[in-house]
C-alpha cells in the first residue's frame, strides 16, 4: 500500500493524521458548510453584516418553509424529476442495445460507430446549440420537458454506450456462444443471457446519468423558459433574481436543489464510483 500506512508510523504521526483529517475535511467542505449555515440564518444577519458568524437566531423552518410553500421551487423540483427520470430510462434502454451490438458482434464499421459515439460525447455543447434548438422548435417541443428529454437521451447515449460496450466486452463470451449452439435466437440471448448480467452496469449508468441530467443547466436555459418546464438548476437562477441578496433563501433553495443527487450518491455510492472511474484501472 502506498503511502505507508499510518499504523506502521510512530504514534505521533498516527494521532496527528487522525486529528488532521476532520480539519482538512472542514476546510474542503467550507463552501458547503457556509450555505448550510446561511440557509438557517435570519434575514437580519445579512443586513447587519453578520455573514459568516453564528446565526443570531434559528430560522431554518421559516426559510425552508418559504422555499417549499411560497416559491416556485416545488414546481421546478417536479420538472427536474419529470425530465431526469425519463432520460435515465431512455438512455439506459438505448445504450444497453447499442452496447450489446458493439460489444458482442464483429462487423465492418463496429469500431467506427463506437468511435462516433465517443467523439460525439466530447463535443462542445455550443456547436449543437442553435441546430438543436431549431429542431426542437420545429417539432413544436420548445419549452417542453419532452424536448429536453429527447435531446438528453440522444446525447447521453454516447457516454452510456461507451460504458455498456466495455462492460459487455468483459463478460465471458463462451456464455453467448453456448446459447448460440443451443439455437437461442439473438434477441433472446440479449434479453435472457446478457441483460441479467448487466445489472451492475445499468445501476451505475442510472445514477450517473441521473446526476448529470439533474445538474444540467446549459440545455435547460437553451431549450426551456419559465416555471412550467424549467428544471431546478435554471429555477435557482430565477429564484436568485426574485430574492436578490436574500442569501438565506437562496441558500435554502440551493440545498433543496442539490439534495436529490447527493442522496442518490450516498445510496448508490459503489455504483456511482464504478461508473465514474470506468477505465481508471486496467
Amino acid at each position: 500500500m502506498f503511502p505507508t500506512p499510518v499504523q506502521k508510523s510512530s504514534p505521533a504521526v498516527r494521532v496527528g493524521y487522525q486529528a488532521f483529517l476532520p480539519l482538512a475535511l472542514f476546510l474542503w467542505l467550507l463552501p458547503l458548510i457556509a450555505v448550510m449555515i446561511f440557509s438557517i440564518k435570519p434575514d437580519v444577519d445579512f443586513t447587519t453584516g453578520n455573514y459568516w458568524g453564528w446565526p443570531s437566531s434559528f430560522e431554518g423552518f421559516t426559510n425552508y418553509g418559504l422555499v417549499f410553500f411560497e416559491s416556485a421551487m416545488p414546481r421546478y423540483l417536479l420538472n427536474s424529476v419529470l425530465i431526469t427520470v425519463p432520460t435515465v430510462i431512455g438512455t439506459v434502454a438505448l445504450a444497453c442495445m447499442t452496447g450489446f451490438a458493439l460489444g458482442v458482434y464483429k462487423f465492418k464499421g463496429n469500431l467506427l460507430i463506437f468511435f462516433m459515439f465517443i467523439a460525439g460525447n466530447f463535443v462542445p455543447f455550443q456547436i449543437l446549440m442553435v441546430p438543436v434548438r431549431d429542431l426542437t422548435v420545429d417539432m413544436g417541443l420548445y419549452n417542453t420537458k419532452t424536448g429536453l428529454v429527447l435531446f438528453h437521451i440522444a446525447f447521453q447515449t454516447g457516454f452510456a454506450t461507451l460504458f455498456m460496450r466495455n462492460f459487455i466486452r468483459a463478460l465471458p463470451f463462451p456464455l453467448i456462444e453456448a446459447a448460440r449452439v443451443e439455437g437461442v435466437a439473438e434477441w433472446r440471448i440479449f434479453v435472457y443471457v446478457v441483460l441479467p448480467l448487466m445489472k451492475p452496469a445499468i445501476a451505475a449508468m442510472a445514477v450517473l446519468i441521473f446526476t448529470f441530467i439533474w445538474n444540467d443547466y446549459f440545455w435547460a436555459v437553451v431549450l426551456t423558459q419559465g416555471p412550467e418546464s424549467q428544471p431546478v438548476t435554471a429555477g435557482i437562477t430565477s429564484f436568485n433574481a426574485q430574492y436578490r441578496a436574500a442569501y438565506h433563501l437562496m441558500s435554502a433553495g440551493s440545498i433543496v436543489a442539490a439534495l436529490p443527487p447527493v442522496l442518490m450518491f450516498f445510496l448508490m455510492q459503489k455504483h456511482f464510483i464504478a461508473g465514474l472511474t470506468l477505465g481508471a484501472v486496467k
Binding site: 460507430i113 462542445p124 472511474t277
Partner: protein, 319 residues
C-alpha cells in the same frame, strides 16, 4: 463452433434466420444511432454551414440569411482587412487560462488521494465526503463561490484583508482577477473527480511491487515517481480527458458568477457563442456559429488524441 455450423446448414431456414448474426447488431444499433445522428452528428454539420451565413435567427436560414462565405471568420481573426474581434480574442485567451489552470486539478486530486489512501476508522466516510463537491450542480457551486468573493462581506475578501490585500471591486468585480476566481470555483469539483479516479487507481496498485521497491530502498517521492505513477497511468489518462473537457465546457460557472463581466473580461468561447446568438445582445447566429466552430476545432485536437489512444488500446487488446 463446428457443430453449430453444421446444424445451420442441415436445416433450411428463412432469410432472416440465415443472416441473423449479420442483421441483429444493426437492429440493435438503429434507435441509438438514429437519435445520436439527429441530435449530435447532424447539428455539428449544420453549425458548420450556418457559420458561412449572416443570419439573425429569424425564419429560415436559406430565405432570411445571406451567404457570406468566410466573412464571419475574417471578422473573428481580423483577416482580409477586417478588424479582429477583441471579444473573441479575450474569450480565446481565457479559454487558454482555463485549460492550463484546470489541469491543476490532476496533481491536486492525486495529492488528496494519497492523503486519504489509509485504512483508519471512518476513512470511507471521509473519502465520500471529500468527493461531495462533484455531486453538486455547478450552479450551486457558482453561487456559493460568488458569495465567498463578495466585496466587503465575502469570506475570501475578509481573509485576504487580514494579510493586507485588497482587490478593488472584489474578486469577481475586478477584470484582473475575475477569471481566476471562476477557475478556482471550477477546480473544487474537478479536483474531487480526479481524487476519486486516483483513489480507485491506488486501490489497484500491485502491493508486491510496492513491497519489492521498498526492499530495494525506494521511499517517498522516488517510490511515487518510479513505482506508483506508472501504475496510475490509466487513471491519469482519464483525469486528463475529463479535465480538458471540463475546462472547455466552462459555461455554467461563467454564466452564474459573472455573466461574462466585468467589462466582458471573463468571457470564454462557450459563453461567447451563447451571448452572440441566444442572449438579447446577440442575434448574430452565423457569427456565433463561427465561434462555435473554432471551439469545436480546438476540442477536435483533443478528441483526436483521445480516440487515437483508445484505438491503440483496442488494437492491443485484440492481438
Amino acid at each position: 463452433m463446428t457443430i453449430s455450423a453444421d446444424s445451420y446448414s442441415q436445416t433450411p431456414r428463412g432469410w432472416y434466420k440465415r443472416n441473423e448474426i449479420a442483421i441483429t447488431p444493426w437492429l440493435f444499433l438503429a434507435p441509438g444511432v438514429l437519435f445520436f445522428v439527429v441530435y449530435v452528428i447532424a447539428p455539428i454539420w449544420q453549425s458548420f454551414g450556418m457559420s458561412l451565413y449572416d443570419w439573425n435567427g429569424l425564419g429560415d436560414i436559406d430565405t432570411n440569411g445571406t451567404y457570406v462565405g468566410l466573412e464571419n471568420y475574417n471578422k473573428l481573426f481580423g483577416l482580409n482587412g477586417e478588424r479582429a474581434d477583441r471579444n473573441f480574442q479575450i474569450s480565446l485567451w481565457n479559454n487558454l487560462k482555463w485549460l492550463v489552470l484546470y489541469l491543476l486539478a490532476i496533481p491536486l486530486g492525486l495529492f488528496i488521494a494519497l492523503f486519504l489512501n489509509q485504512s483508519v476508522r471512518g476513512i470511507r466516510l471521509y473519502k465520500s465526503l471529500f468527493f461531495f463537491p462533484f455531486v453538486i450542480s455547478q450552479v450551486v457551486v457558482g453561487l456559493v463561490f460568488s458569495w465567498f468573493y463578495l466585496p466587503n462581506n465575502g469570506l475570501f475578501t475578509i481573509m485576504t484583508g487580514w494579510f493586507g490585500f485588497e482587490i478593488s471591486g472584489g474578486v469577481l468585480g475586478n477584470p484582473n482577477t475575475a477569471t481566476y476566481g471562476i477557475i478556482a470555483a471550477g477546480l473544487w469539483p474537478q479536483t474531487a473527480y480526479c481524487m476519486i479516479l486516483y483513489l480507485t487507481g491506488l486501490n489497484a496498485v500491485d502491493p508486491e511491487q510496492v513491497e519489492a521497491a521498498r526492499l530495494d530502498g525506494a521511499k517517498g517521492r522516488k517510490m511515487l515517481w518510479y513505482v506508483i505513477l506508472p501504475q496510475l497511468k490509466p487513471a491519469t489518462f482519464i483525469a486528463f480527458v475529463v479535465t480538458i473537457i471540463g475546462a472547455l465546457r466552462s459555461f455554467d460557472l461563467v454564466s452564474i458568477m459573472t455573466g461574462g463581466g466585468p467589462f466582458g473580461s471573463t468571457r470564454v468561447l462557450s459563453y461567447y457563442v451563447f451571448e452572440k446568438s441566444l442572449s438579447e445582445r446577440g442575434l448574430q447566429y452565423g457569427y456565433a456559429a463561427a465561434v462555435a466552430v473554432v471551439l469545436f476545432m480546438i476540442m477536435l485536437v483533443f478528441i483526436s488524441y483521445f480516440l487515437w489512444s483508445m484505438y491503440k488500446d483496442e488494437r492491443g487488446a485484440r492481438s
